[in-house]
Amino acid sequence: MTPPLLALHQVDKRFAGGTLALQGLDLAIARGSFTSLLGSSGCGKSTLLRLLAGLETPTAGRVERADDAVGNTGFVFQQPTLMPWARVAANVALPLQLQRRRQAEIDTAVAPALAAVGLQDFGNAFPRELSGGMQMRASIARALITRPALLLLDEPFAALDEITRFRLNEDLLALWQRDAFTAVFVTHSVAEAVFLSQRIVVMAPRPGRVSEIIGLDAPYPRHAAFRATPAFAEACIRVSQALLRASDG
Amino acid sequence: ADKVVFGTNWKAQAAHGGFYQAIADGTYAKAGLDVTIRPGGPQVNNRPLLPAGRIDFLMTGNLLHSFDNVKNGVPVVVVAAMFQKDPQALFSHPGAYRTFAELNTAPVAWIAKDAQFSWWAWLKAEHGFRDEQLRPYAYNLGPFLANKRSIQQGYAVEEPISIRSQGGFEPQTWLLADHGYSTYSTTIEARVETVQKNPALVKRFVEASIIGWVNYLHGDRSKADALIRRDNPDMPQATIDASAALMKQLGIVDSGDAQTLGIGAMRPERIADFHAKMLRAGLYKPGEVDLSKVATTAFVNQGVGVALARQLGAGR
């Protein structure tokens, strides 16, 4: 068996303020897998994602990150996190700039990236001139533009309407199948998690820990029709119940 | 007693000794005056305070300021000239130059800002000095000591003492007064209004100051020195002693007319002569300065203090 791309061993995370955000967490993320994180607000999903990205260090335990994950990670933060002084196109182009790509290459990459999230007309706008959902979409475009090996998404579609959300869900899956990256996806939507993932990690709060891990074996590619299948509905119910158990426990 | 504030143009030093003497030994008090001395300083400009009425009398370095006052309609007038010779001098390293005429070949001349606007113009016009030589003198001897070919300005009764102690050599002193710079110095200015409305006060102040100077130069100056050191705590007694000795030796105060007419003596002809020189130096245009307004001799030339000086053994 190949070693996992990312692995957490008995990880604790306590913040300076004293909050114990995560405790005794064990988790392995296989290369090329699609994992969703579900859990109540404040249970430590974002913190876990930041540990996976190497943006936080654990207070106890160990985080192992394979070499090909480091420096080749796309991250959609929970907040849009755009540079207010740069136009949308420049914001989206930033990761390429940081990789010192040639300007021509950048220009050809940015236009389709914007179009993919429906922002083709707003490349010249400043972030403050976008709606909340549009800002998140710009942030998604930025995370995808480098075709990262590891994609971490923190509630990327929460601010979007269902139609856009469904479309982007399918687009994301198509990309995942084409590029075979590893995805860790935080969402509050059970249906979204079921639609997208191979594995759903249900977290319990106070302190944050893994409550249950639910595997989903529906085959890919999954399309809109999958949402209408009994298997889908049944999985949703299983996950919802796991969530209920996690928040009761 | 009448309250009187007297502003000087520098920190307390031996060159102000006569005034401190008159406070210390009660000469002012005897004249019915309660005098406060307000020292000036390198960047402290007490001069506007006189016409503004914040001080009553002002000690002024030379007559140029008085010419400027008249030219600009400032209603003040010179009532006495305590120094017959201006102690303003140039210094050079020993043996660097043989004559005053050679000084204009010095590569560097450390000259303070105020001098650049007054007698430097005269040195240029009369003695061939050049602006290229100019470097600003911030009353710090270091740059002069460091450059053997340089010359610098200074007070003949002040700088040689510190050059001696800091540089360890006796500088050559070129007194401007010996080369045609014929201004009176350490003059006392008063407001025209005071002179007209209260001449008695002016007379008491001038005459008490003269007596103060006689006593300072020829009598026991220890109490005056104590006052000087109170106003200027870093002034060592040795410097005061050396300075006082130089004043006598160079005849700064008590020479020429002063020996017969009394300290503070002024002659209009000499003022006119000095004015003519400054005219030639281009500092003034003809007719700009009404010489009759520059000074009044009503309070001097009365022989005040001459007898006292002789009694104290002056000239011996």
Binding site: R50, A53, G54, L55, V70, G71, T73, F75, F77, Q79, T81, M83, P84, W85, A86, L94, P95, Q97, L98, Q99, F126, R128, T146 | Q43, N45, R47, P48, P51, A52, L64, H65, D68, N69, K71, N72, G73, V74, P75, K113, D114, Q116, F117, S118, W120, D131, E132, L134, R135, P136, A138, N140, G142, P143, A146
Partner: protein, 262 residues
């Protein structure tokens, strides 16, 4: 705030009117209390003197302006470089910040002689002095600005393993701009005053003299209206620099920073 934005004409009219009102009050005060011109000349007299001496003041003004702008440029370069160094390394800040403070608080008057010994040309000495006066606000403000970069964006760049230089270029520098602009407004005035004060203390006379020499000369010679004329030139120059900086801030921050909206 609730107050409506002043319309375009108001933007010029208000300061103009208020300036005129202040000048009128000054003139009135001078006339009412009959303050003689050798103490405080009225603005009319100052204006006339300025007009009459304009030809002779102009070269001095130009000299001062040159020193000011050169010193400001140096201060910007020096201040920004130092701030960048400090922002990139706490160690560098810990080692060098004391030196920067010492430079800021050392009175020029005291060290001018030393500078004059070390530096040959008077103009260079003037520049050094004016620079010393002006660089600190740029440094302090830029540093605070560089430090104030958004923590989330900082993490984004860390994620992409941006080099220090990239972090600087793409994040820190733009974040510092509002602070830098405020520092520039302060330094603009300080460079001017630094140029003037430096000339007071380190300046030579002769042909190459700036406004400071004219102020001193007029002061020594009790030509107070002329002194005020020169001071007015200094003030006008300061206001000009200030307006230029303000326009620059508006241009640079206009479309994205809260401080320049409305």
């Amino acid at each position: 705030m609730a107050e409506p934005a002043i319309d375009h004409r108001g933007r010029w009219l208000t300061p103009l009117l208020s300036t005129l009102a202040m000048l009128a009050a000054w003139e009135a005060a001078v006339r009412w209390w009959e303050i003689p011109p050798y103490l405080l000349p009225g603005p009319l007299l100052v204006a006339r003197t300025l007009f009459e001496n304009f030809g002779s003041l102009l070269p001095s003004w130009w000299f001062t302006v040159k020193i000011t702008l050169a010193a400001l440029a140096l201060a910007v370069v020096g201040g920004v470089l130092l701030a960048v160094l400090f922002a990139l390394s706490r160690r560098a800040e810990a080692s060098l910040a004391p030196l920067a403070v010492v430079l800021q608080v050392t009175p020029i008057v005291a060290i001018a002689p030393l500078i004059l010994i070390l530096v040959d040309s008077t103009t260079a000495a003037l520049l050094v002095c004016a620079f010393i006066v002006a660089f600190f606000p740029i440094m302090a403000n830029t540093l605070q600005g560089l430090r104030s970069a958004d923590a989330n964006l900082r993490e984004l760049l860390r994620l992409y393993r941006a080099t220090r230089w990239q972090t600087l270029r793409y994040l820190l520098v733009p974040s510092a701009l509002p602070y830098f602009m405020a520092g520039l407004k302060i330094a603009g005035g300080l460079a001017l005053i630094g140029a003037v004060v430096a000339e007071f203390t380190a300046g030579a006379a002769g042909r190459e003299t700036g406004l400071a020499s004219r102020i001193l000369e007029a002061s020594f010679r009790t030509e107070i209206p002329k002194m005020f004329a020169a001071l007015v030139l200094v003030s006008l120059t300061g206001i000009g620099i200030h307006l230029a900086m303000q326009a620059l801030a508006r241009r640079v921050l206009g479309r994205w920073h809260d401080s320049e909206r409305g």
